[in-house]
């Protein structure tokens, strides 16, 4: 093995590069996803750190209320019309670089996540990596939720990061939702 450092600082051993649906670990369902965002690192960090901004691009999040600087209460649309409440606490905060959070015990689900911001060494903007993970609640609903969640965090991480990128780069979130954004015929002969 060569002693040469890799030409980029991408972490090739990270789960983002592993070919598996779920990252083995503490949680039932988890996913990591990366996106290059053509905006300064600090601006992206600041936007995300103010958690009240997050419903602007997180489609499932109905509301976020700030309890204290590092604590917030979330109302999230769950599968099959359910509503999930959780209280989230920031567990690590490195300004401009990294934010990690975790749900507190009174929450409906166990949830943990982090987001990392790195300068791209070749001037293409900021490399953003997001990790999210869940444990579904117990009971009957929990079973449904668990089933959906096998896929859900991957889909969610992917779509939320795309929307975050859109909002940061263009100032808006692309949409083609019928009928207003994209009219369509509802007659089906």
């Amino acid at each position: 093995m060569s002693e040469q450092p890799l030409s980029t600082d991408a972490d090739v051993a990270s789960p983002a590069f592993l070919d598996q649906d779920r990252v083995e670990g503490e949680f039932d369902a988890a996913s990591i996803r990366a996106a290059m965002i053509n905006r300064p690192r600090r601006e992206l960090y600041d936007f995300w750190r103010d958690v009240r901004n997050l419903p602007l691009f997180m489609e499932n999040v109905k509301s976020v209320e700030l309890l204290e600087d590092d604590r917030s209460s979330w109302l999230v649309a769950g599968p099959a019309g359910s509503e999930i409440e959780l209280v989230s606490e920031i567990t690590e905060d490195r300004p401009g670089e990294y934010i990690a959070w975790r749900s507190l015990e009174e929450s409906d689900i166990d949830h943990e996540g982090w987001i990392e911001f790195r300068d791209n060494p070749f001037g293409r903007g900021t490399e953003v990596r997001v990790f999210i993970s869940y444990d579904p609640p117990a009971g009957a609903l929990g079973k449904v939720v668990a089933k959906v969640m096998q896929r859900e965090p991957r889909v969610q991480a992917r779509r939320e990061l795309r929307r975050f990128k859109q909002l940061m780069e263009t100032g808006e979130v692309s949409t083609s939702r019928a009928p207003d954004a994209a009219p369509r015929a509802d007659r089906h002969p």
Binding site: E59, E169, G171, V173
Partner: protein, 390 residues
Amino acid sequence: MRALAWHGKHNIQVDTVPDPQIINPRDAIIRITATAICGSDLHLYDSVIPGMSNGDVLGHEFMGVVEEVGPRSTLKRGQKVVVPFTISCGSCFFCGKQQYSACDNSNPADKSDASEIAYGYPMAGIYGYSHLTGGYAGGQAEYARVPYSDVGPIVIPDGIEDEKVLFLSDIFPTGWMAAENAGIEPGDTVAIWGCGPVGLFAIKSALLMGAGRVIAIDHHPRRLELAKKNGAEVLNYHEVKVREALTEMTAGIGPDACIDAVGMEAHGFAPDNIIDAVKQETKLGTDRQHVLRETIMACRKGGRVSVPGVYGGIGDKLPIGAFMQKGLTLKTGQTHVQKYLPQLLQMILEGKVDTTDLISHRLPLEQGPEAYRNFHSSQNEWTKVVLKPH
């Protein structure tokens, strides 16, 4: 409003649908004055592009008058604009490189999964061209919502007829980029398969770029006639063996560049094409790549192959040995329309290029279904259709 909607294979109807609204700050609403049917629409008509859904509004070649603007649009009410068929944000990595048709942001997040699975990365948004490319409503309608209206549409000076500039929306830039991708050097011989609208604009562009000789291939006499009028020598593939003719005409060297302006629905009874057609019919997602194979085989050693023709699925039996051994270069892609607009508009205004000679029919939007039928099945007489919604 009235709009042409897709209801399945060979089933296009005029429907009354809700009017589009301004949703995002950079949106504009355009009142459409002219819109065209493209060869690409025929791939939807024939149902060989996946991701269409019953009721989708069609059309990606359109122009009109700015009716309403969002707070961050740079357009003004009453301006006449032509809208590029590719939707581009103007601020991502790809737009920064002028690779507008690769825009990373214009395909909504919930629509991007399919193309990411099919092609490795999510594709940009395109008007009226399936949910793979965003699920946006198209412009074969009275009105259209135009996202990122500060980046896409080009403002047309007063007093220019719609027909002269309408094809800036797609086929003129597409023919131009096809010729650019062919890397034409002065005196080159360029062979172009397909004398449809894209092939015809590729002929015009190749000659403007200094090609010494253009040889155009099709089998519809009218289309071949149009190609001839534009300065091409023509080959009817029902009458001659194309590859042998090209070798003979170039005294054994072969064309310096070959352009596939046909795409995934090539006609022909060569065995490869029949197998491809069967697979396509049985929905295996196989493209009919007869022309692509022929361009690779016909091209001279060290030559260039340019592919504006659309492919959507998976192909096999590509003559990869010929491609490698001859050292060919291949370039392709959905057109980066925005990149070419100022330059091409200027050429139209200066009268350097005839952009209307290919129009065979002008019809009201209400006759859209009939226009699709004929542009599909009577290609000899129906060379390009312009629809007028207002």
